[in-house]
Symmetry: C2
Subunit: 913 residues, 2 copies
């Protein structure tokens, strides 16, 4: 038996994520102490702006009445009344029920029915409705007003006794469940007994008498459980229902929902009492839900489903397959045409795509609800652009209503939804980096590289990945790991590249040696093709066809153009290769904000020289090894400068601890020893010397260049030589040199001098006579650097907040280890969100603001940006805009998101938000 309560979970719900622009704020008809607001054809007390007082639903119903939509009349008890209920120690305010009586009378007049009448009974629904939508706070009670007498009235009125009693048993069930807290199973059991008695297969097979019997059985359940008979006075029913709604405001579900959603400052819930209409009164009745435009594609075409002879809950419950709205003219042409007119009216009124519910009772259309409809990223973009063309909204309004993060849906290939069944769903992991990837299984990074070179498409499948795997990760179509979370190495690297990645798929048991993956009884090998969905976390056996969205053209391009028009924040990218640089440039990046130099050292050609450098016993030998790396670094920079010609490229000097460049297993160490002609013992010793208890807080960042200045000299030399090579070829190279992990004034002072000295040395050697302008700056990623930013800024041309490390150190959270407690912390709501995903504005944000302000105090010309993962997170981008930063830098695929988020931030600040 299906649930008879209407847990509405359709595509409905207000569009969240996108900031909203609301209309006028002062309700014109507000009266002191007025507890009840009527809406109907004859009179409308409320209006759309009164959400705080009437709740979203109540204000909306009033609003729909105002613009002349056919809404079943009713009235709303205010949220203030709910607050008064609690202030009075959970008692209904004096006079409330008198008012309710008065308004029921008003309803009776407008509908020409009578509450509890045995002839022509008025039935109502009772619904909660706070200022902010809180699905699941309180279920709806329908058909209220039915009694043993009124049910006969309804039977007479409709000429359908079975329908009347079915309505009655639904009321007893809902009322018992929702208002009186009777366990649902008791009703279910009673229904079962009746079905057995009448040998009915389904609910619908039960004959009229069965339903009448059922009502009796239900009333008996009620009496036994509650200790009183089911209320036969409809006002008693109403009073109890109103109080139940008020109580539900502080029920577990509601409190928990508000906490999770961070909803604060509300007074309480309103109660909406509305005349019932029935979509289940026969073949000329029905019910439906719809969107004024297609919520998936954005097409400006009415879109929805309907069911004939059904109530709203039946559409949602999915027992019967609804018909597409396009088929409606065949059934109720007049109502369909009326709906199309209403669609126009609604969009003109609300200036946004609406999500509606309607019911047709004996050929008459009633609107039950309208609200802003949720939509895909693609639809959001198209609708926004179309509505600007239709002159419904302005460019700024169009921009702020698109959830910036949803743009990622337009950038990555996805699986063709209609063809997912081609694959066999194996398991589900954490969706770490969006997109879709198809390939054969590669078990090691090396294997991935080799097979890719041989023209195969592979998915790298590992327990976890490490910096040594980057080459193979890069070559793979996608990455799948059995461990780790969104901040694991695999996830972070993949997001940076915009490569599809699923992590933490714990069902996978990977035996890399035997080249086998066991997953829920299946065994897959290197020749098996899998498909992974980085947007959902799904892992399939078999090849599922993908669809590629086309980039930055059409409406998407328009949104980007408008974004650039309104944003003031610069958008750069984090890119380490010419390919990434080119992609980011296509996506609109106005420079590179973070070019990491160490990834370059992992290339097989270079890693040997890098290791030689690390194993050297003295500076002279280190320099020899560095000399071998120099041409490679220079070539890399030439490539990147060429890709970014005319735009700044911020190059960060070496950052990771040296041990990351050496293998940690015996075999690997022996191989290194052999290739460098030293003893394995020496390699082992060096690895052990370099071992650190907490490498994150160890000998890394600028600490390396200050202890091995020759590394800095090589890197700076490579940059300058590459710059001069480019200039000589007419390519305008604009490098900026960035020192990581600075925490003291002396560090940046010395680093700056060392950098300048090397630049000048190369300049002299090359006989370059023109000025070389290379800004020198620092990352602000150690809390101390933000605290003493005023002194650091004296030796820096720019700051770039490294919000990843800054978050690690400000919280004392190691990104690599946070999964040991982060899930518990999120579950217990100690943290609202992973602070590596969205900037912790309360704590880390203070340091960002402080760093920027203090830095500019002593160096007003200071350029300030950020280059952590947060640069691509819309919420964080808003914060950075408000903090007055000059630019954010993010991975190439997040550049469009950052552009839009930056525009939204500028527009909202301009509007005073």
């Amino acid at each position: 038996m299906p649930s008879v309560t209407a847990k509405h979970a359709g595509l409905n719900g207000s569009s969240n994520g996108a900031p909203r622009i609301t209309g006028k704020a002062t309700p014109s008809k507000l009266q002191a102490n007025k507890m009840v607001y009527f809406f109907g054809k004859t009179r409308v007390d409320g209006e759309a702006s009164m959400k705080a007082l009437l709740g979203g639903k109540g204000a909306n119903l009033a609003d729909m009445c105002s613009i002349g939509l056919p809404v079943p009349p009713g009235f709303t008890i205010t949220t203030d009344t709910c607050a008064a209920y609690y202030q009075a120690g959970q008692r209904l305010p004096v006079g409330l029920m008198n008012e309710v009586h008065k308004y029921i009378n008003m309803l009776e007049k407008e509908t020409d029915k009578k509450f509890g009448s045995a002839e022509n009974p008025l039935l109502v629904s009772v619904r909660s409705g706070a200022a902010v939508s809180m699905p699941g706070m309180m279920d709806t009670v329908l058909n209220l007003g039915l009694t043993d007498a009124a049910v006969e009235g309804l039977a007479k009125l409709t000429g359908n006794r079975r329908f009347a009693y079915d309505s009655y048993r639904r009321l007893i069930n809902m009322f018992g469940d929702v208002v009186m807290g009777i366990p649902h199973e008791l009703f279910e059991h009673a229904f079962k007994v009746v079905k057995q008695k009448y040998k009915a297969e389904t609910d619908n097979d039960v004959p009229e008498q069965g339903i009448v019997d059922l009502c009796e059985a239900y009333k008996e359940v009620f009496r036994k459980r509650v200790g009183e008979i089911f209320p036969q006075n409809p006002f008693k029913q109403l009073e109890l229902a109103i109080e139940a709604v008020f109580k539900s405001w502080n029920g577990d579900r509601a409190v928990s929902y508000r906490r999770i959603q961070g909803i604060q400052g509300l007074k309480g819930t309103a109660v909406n009492i509305q005349t019932m209409v029935f979509g289940n009164m026969g073949e000329d009745s029905g019910t439906g839900v719809g969107f004024t435009r297609n919520p998936t594609t954005g097409d400006n075409k009415f879109y929805g489903d309907f069911l004939i002879n059904a109530q709203g809950e039946d559409v949602v419950a999915g027992i019967r397959t609804p018909k597409l709205i396009d088929e409606m003219p065949k059934w109720q042409k007049k109502c369909y045409e009326q709906l199309l007119k209403i669609k126009q009216k609604l969009e003109k009124h609300y200036k946004d795509m609406q999500d509606i519910e309607f019911t047709i009772e004996r050929g008459v259309l009633y609107m039950l609800q309208t609200r802003t409809g949720k939509r895909t990223g693609q639809a959001a973009v198209k609708i926004a652009c179309d509505m600007v063309k239709e002159r419904l909204i302005t460019e700024k309004e169009a921009l702020v209503r698109i959830p910036a993060g949803d743009l990622s849906q337009l950038l990555f290939p996805g699986f063709d939804a209609s063809k997912k069944k081609i694959g066999k769903l194996l398991t589900r992991g954490i969706a770490a980096s969006p997109g879709a990837a198809v390939g054969k299984i590669a078990f090691t990074a090396g294997e991935a590289v080799m097979r890719k070179l041989n023209g195969e498409k592979v998915i790298l499948v590992r327990d976890e990945t490490s910096p040594e795997d980057v080459e193979g990760m890069h070559k793979a179509e996608g990455i799948l790991t059995s461990t780790g979370g969104r901040s694991s190495h695999a996830a972070v690297v993949a997001v940076g590249w915009g490569k599809c990645c699923v992590v933490g798929a714990g069902d996978l048991h990977i035996d890399a040696k035997a080249k086998k993956v066991h997953v829920k009884g299946e065994v897959l090998g290197p020749d098996d093709v899998i498909s992974i969905d980085g947007t959902t976390g799904e892992v399939f056996a078999g090849a599922i066809p993908t669809v590629i969205p086309d980039k930055l053209s059409g409406d998407f391009g328009t949104i980007m153009r408008w974004s650039d028009k309104y944003r003031t924040l610069g958008i750069r990218t984090n890119a380490d290769t010419p390919a990434d640089a080119r992609r980011a440039r296509e996506f609109g990046a106005s420079g590179i904000g973070l070019c990491r130099t160490e990834h370059m050292f992992f290339d097989p050609e270079r890693i040997t020289s890098m290791r030689e450098m690390i194993l050297a016993d003295n500076e002279a030998d280190r320099r020899k090894a560095l000399d071998k790396l120099l041409p490679h670094q220079r070539d890399d920079f030439v490539g990147i400068f060429t890709a970014m010609k005319g735009l700044p490229v911020t190059i960060r000097l070496i950052d990771p601890p040296l041990h990351e460049f050496l293998p940690h297993d015996d075999a690997g160490q022996s191989a290194v020893a052999k290739s460098l002609g030293v003893s394995a013992e020496k390699v082992r010793r060096r690895v052990s010397e370099l071992h650190e208890a907490n490498p994150m807080l160890g000998h890394r960042g600028c600490r390396l260049c200050l202890t091995y200045p020759e590394i800095l000299e090589m890197q700076v030399r490579a940059i300058v030589e590459a710059m001069l090579d480019c200039q000589a070829n007419g390519i305008k190279a604009m490098p900026e040199i960035m020192h990581p992990l600075v925490g003291t004034k002396k560090e940046i002072e010395k680093l700056r001098q060392m950098t300048i000295d090397t630049i000048n040395k190369v300049k002299t050697e090359k006989g370059w006579t023109k000025r070389i302008e290379i800004p020198i700056g620092t990352m602000i990623e150690v809390p101390r650097a933000a605290l003493i930013a005023d002194t650091v800024a004296q030796d820096a041309d720019f700051f770039s907040f490294g919000t990843n490390d800054l978050t690690q150190m400000t919280f004392g959270y190691s990104r690599d280890d946070i999964n040991n407690f982060l899930p518990a912390y999120l579950e217990q709501e100690i943290l609202e969100i992973d602070p590596f995903v969205s900037l912790d504005q309360t704590g880390v944000g203070q340091l960002v603001k402080m760093g920027a302000e203090r830095g500019r105090q002593t160096n007003p010309k200071l350029k300030v940006g950020i280059c952590g993962e947060h640069g691509g997170d819309p919420k964080s981008v808003h914060f950075f805009h408000k903090a007055g930063l000059d630019y954010v830098s993010c991975s190439p695929f997040r550049v469009p998101i950052a552009r839009l988020a930056a525009a939204q931030a500028a527009i909202l600040v301009e509007m005073g938000k």
Copy 2:
């Protein structure tokens, strides 16, 4: 042949470490641009308060003249002039040498001698002298003014040609070495040749003609090396010497000394040019050094050494054994009595113990130097107390002049007398700096540094030490030399640091190259452990156990009493055992500020249950294991509460990551598996699950109790039960519960609630009816906690800054790994001092101030303390006093130091400093 240069490293030098109260700050005779200040019988330009301008020595010489002491006249070139020298790109300021001429004329008048005269030559000494004593910065040049002509004048004047030429060869040697940088060996070689020629055994055996020959040989060495003849113009000599002094200000030795001593903000060095007097003019001449009180014990008795017919450098060089000052009356009664009067005068004038140098030339006493004398901690305490009794100084003055850190010398371990036989007495040297030290032998300073970094304890064993060795001396547990006396470099430096030191152990034959020490037939190498007793001078083979001196009695007790009278900062201790708690209480701790609970789990009886808890698969099994730990924890707390009855005990709940409780090697893991009856595989898997890349930033601190609340419940239960047990026995237990590593408001909110719930649960179970008052607080050790302290304080009764972790996270330095770059950072002066030793006031200090201020904003009753290592560092204590903290908590042995430092801070703040 001994060195003839006077590397003066006597017991001299101003007492550093203790804050000083200086007199009036404005020099009355200060003139703009005056470069030279005269001192003599006829005129004194400077005064004691002008140390910044004239250096310590110069100001002091002027001062001694002012109070009528017999000082050889001279003049001082100001430190401003040194600064001007550097500003001018290392050129002597225009007009300086004219001034010098003028003042030499003045000297000539006062002494009735003539510079460079062949009849009655004026000879001068040239010495550096900065505002702060910097021994070893620049060596002295004596006898300046001697030329081929003047030497004959001196011969005539003294009637002693050998003396005159001996003075000349000393000048050429010193001038060559110190001013021109000629290697010392060249002069030594020339001396050897002359000795061979004259078949002389010792220097003194060389006849007059030999010395005349030697002067020629030295001049030849000079000419060959410098390329010019030895300057025959005394003004040329003077000019070069003045410039050499200026240059020495930025020499390696001086820079390194300033760094080690943390000396900053000085302008440069002054140059003192003073008429020579000769202690080596015959048996009625002599020279000596002394202290107005005993610098080791503090006894109010004139203390020193003298040599007849010798120059000052001979006392220091240690070639001849000096006589004790007590023997002086037998030789020169009048001068001795004059000295005793001068002692009185000096102490009355300076109100402190003085370190003096004097010379007797042909029966006439000259004072060459006086300065505040360095002293041991014991002497500092006694002298301060005695001087208060003598009404020379006030209690407050007494307190601020004792270097608080030096109190550790009074607390330092000594060898357990009853166990000295464990070691084998090898020899006996001079007891130069008290205490006891045990370690393996390090033969060079460099070796000492390296081995210390590798975790070894070493004793630095050398023939002698020099300023270049200071780094290694600092790292060694103790210092042992085969030569030198109480005023040798090793002795002076060690006393300054309160480091155990034995000098002049002549039986030692040290072969540093072969890394062998021969001593009376024994041969020791780098792996042999020795024990040295700085109080008796004994040197033992083997490791002798040490004992801790007990209690604060006598003068020490007086100082502590006075400290408590003036300080406002509370002093608590960090103690985890009843024994530590008792000791700290004896040392005056007014509570425990940090009682770590995890150390208790390492006890063999308990570690098994702890491991069982860690290996448990579910909460029920964890609780079972915790139940076994409960009685142990309760007993521990009963012991500590009993030791601290009536005083607060702040108990920090479990802090380290769980993997610390499991062995990391295979054998250990197998043993654990066996003892717990689980598979070794399971133990291995759990260890690997618990492994973290950066455990410092991992699953530890309150993160443990939030993920395993049952641990908190067990610990809080143990505390409450122990408290109630104590109360029942009439022992007032005052626990405070502290949650570590809090970084968010929600954490402390939840922890507080969980703690209160458990307290109430135990209360109910035990049927306790009275109130249980247990303050609940948090450590502030994560930077974010300081940033959001206003919200954290809403759920905390107290804050305790964990400055160790706060330093780690604010700098991004792992304490365990910092040695990979800290030595380089100190050497390059990127850091002034190890921030784990003395609080980084600039950076970390901001967070401490911010945390305290913001916390009190929302919770005015908030108690604020600190419990990192910094709580026992005097400089840091001053900072914490100024930051308005309520208390500091430090290790038991540092409690007396903190008490004194807190009093000093209060007194200095009261004085506006």
